[in-house]
């Protein structure tokens, strides 16, 4: 299997381990990732705050490049990139006037063929749970995972058509292949305020705390994410929360890292040492603690 790859800016920086673990897991599963040549930023999360046309044109350039490369299916692991790409695709398909302007802005007609854009959860859905099951080497019975979808994976539902918009379950189903327990919790799709990570840290810290607290109260000992912004918020903000006192660390891992552990890949291969809050060495296979 071969699939186009749009890493997005974060995966080259703050979300390096997402890129590392995705590539490692895909390699283990025999999936070839073909990076879009000379891709550029999708504009999230600032272009749509200043110009609608810019917000559609920036992703459009990448769709154009993907089309020129003959890619018909691409994965955008960053939820924000995924969101911008699918929205741009939807908008040009449904608004001929906008399409004309976008084509003027990128100085080229858009590719005629349909390019299917997948988020990282859809990628694993596409690969299939059987394949994951077959490649599984380690049982993560020690983990109770709160699968965190964040806001941009499922919304807007009319465009993404992905999972249930309020009570999503697909990431849970994929992670169940690791042998871990998935907890039912309240804030699967609650926003962490990712866009304000730099501009309004106190807001983001507060929102992150709420999400982490509910995950813990629901019995989770690890949070799974599929978005670099969610990750940097939930992981990094625990540094502040520790200072505030009364905080208990809760490791936040990318979906790909958890799957990688189950496939028997090493912690280093998956970039696990890059997190602020470490997943304890023994956690993954240790017998589950008693939960009330």
């Amino acid at each position: 299997m071969k699939i186009g790859y749009f890493p997005g800016c974060s995966l080259g920086g703050t979300a390096k381990e997402f890129d590392i673990s995705l590539r490692a897991v895909m390699k283990a599963l025999g999936v070839e990732l073909v990076e879009i040549d000379d891709w550029s930023c999708c504009g999230a999360s600032s272009a749509h705050a200043s110009s609608h046309l810019l917000a559609v044109s920036l992703p459009a350039r990448n769709l154009l490049l993907a089309g020129q490369q003959g890619l018909t299916e691409i994965v955008a692991p960053c939820a924000a990139c995924y969101s911008r790409l699918v929205i741009a695709q939807h908008e040009v398909a449904n608004d001929a006037g906008l399409k004309a302007k976008v084509e003027r802005a990128i100085e080229s007609p858009l590719p005629a063929g349909e390019i299917r854009i997948l988020n990282v959860v859809q990628l694993f859905e596409r690969i299939g749970p059987e394949k994951l099951q077959a490649a599984k080497r380690v049982d993560l019975a020690g983990l109770s995972i709160a699968a965190y979808y964040g806001c941009l994976l499922v919304r807007p539902h009319e465009i993404t058509g992905f999972d249930d918009v309020e009570q999503p379950v697909i990431m849970d189903a994929i992670l169940a292949a690791t042998g871990a327990r998935l907890v039912d919790w309240n804030f699967k799709t609650e926003c962490c305020g990712g866009a304000h990570s730099i501009s309004h840290k106190p807001i983001v810290t507060k929102l992150s705390k709420k999400i982490l607290d509910d995950a813990r109260q629901s019995g989770a000992n690890v949070v799974a994410v599929a978005c670099p912004m969610c990750h940097s918020n939930l992981d990094m903000r625990q540094v502040e929360l520790r200072k505030e006192g009364g905080h208990q660390d809760l490791p936040v891992l990318y979906l790909t890292e958890l799957l990688g552990l189950a496939l028997g890949l090493g912690r280093k291969e998956l970039g696990l040492d890059l997190h602020f809050v470490r997943l304890p060495e023994q956690a993954q296979t240790a017998p589950q603690e008693n939960r009330a």
Partner: protein, 187 residues
Amino acid sequence: MKPAHAHEHTLVDDINELTHQDPALCYQCGKCSAGCPIREFMDVAPNKVVRYVQLGLFDKALQSATIWLCAGCQTCSTRCPKSFELAAFMDALRELAQERGIEPSDQAVYKFHQAFLKQLRHHGRLYEMGLIRDFKLSTFKLMQDVDVAPAMLLKGKIGLFPHNIKNREAVRRIFKNVETIEKEEHS
């Protein structure tokens, strides 16, 4: 309060053009505000921003910090009983506020977006170190995140130097072309 006349071109027409939805759709149930994760930090409830637009009190809407604080998570749009895309509406108000030269009430968010787009325009991709530097310089919040950034640096998660794309010119031209098209439309 002076209600706008139906026939003169107002902010409502601009919003309609950008979002393809009429603010009159909103029946002010407040479900958007009820579910908004940022609500407690806003000066004006999101439903009230729509109300201001409905009443023709455009300045009040455009001067609110709410339009800048909206994180674009679309919780409101998803749950709206009228399927009103409030997140897109907020995007439009931000764009229109800038177009009208209205001083953004939340400078931090505004400066962040400016810094972000600047990186993008220069490098074709986000240069995170540059973003943080520019943002700090513009907001004088020099100390914030200082403790986290070096850790990021040590972990190799933030590069000291930008990753330029090969065809930086292409991205710059997109910015230019968008500006030209928008200028044409406003004249």
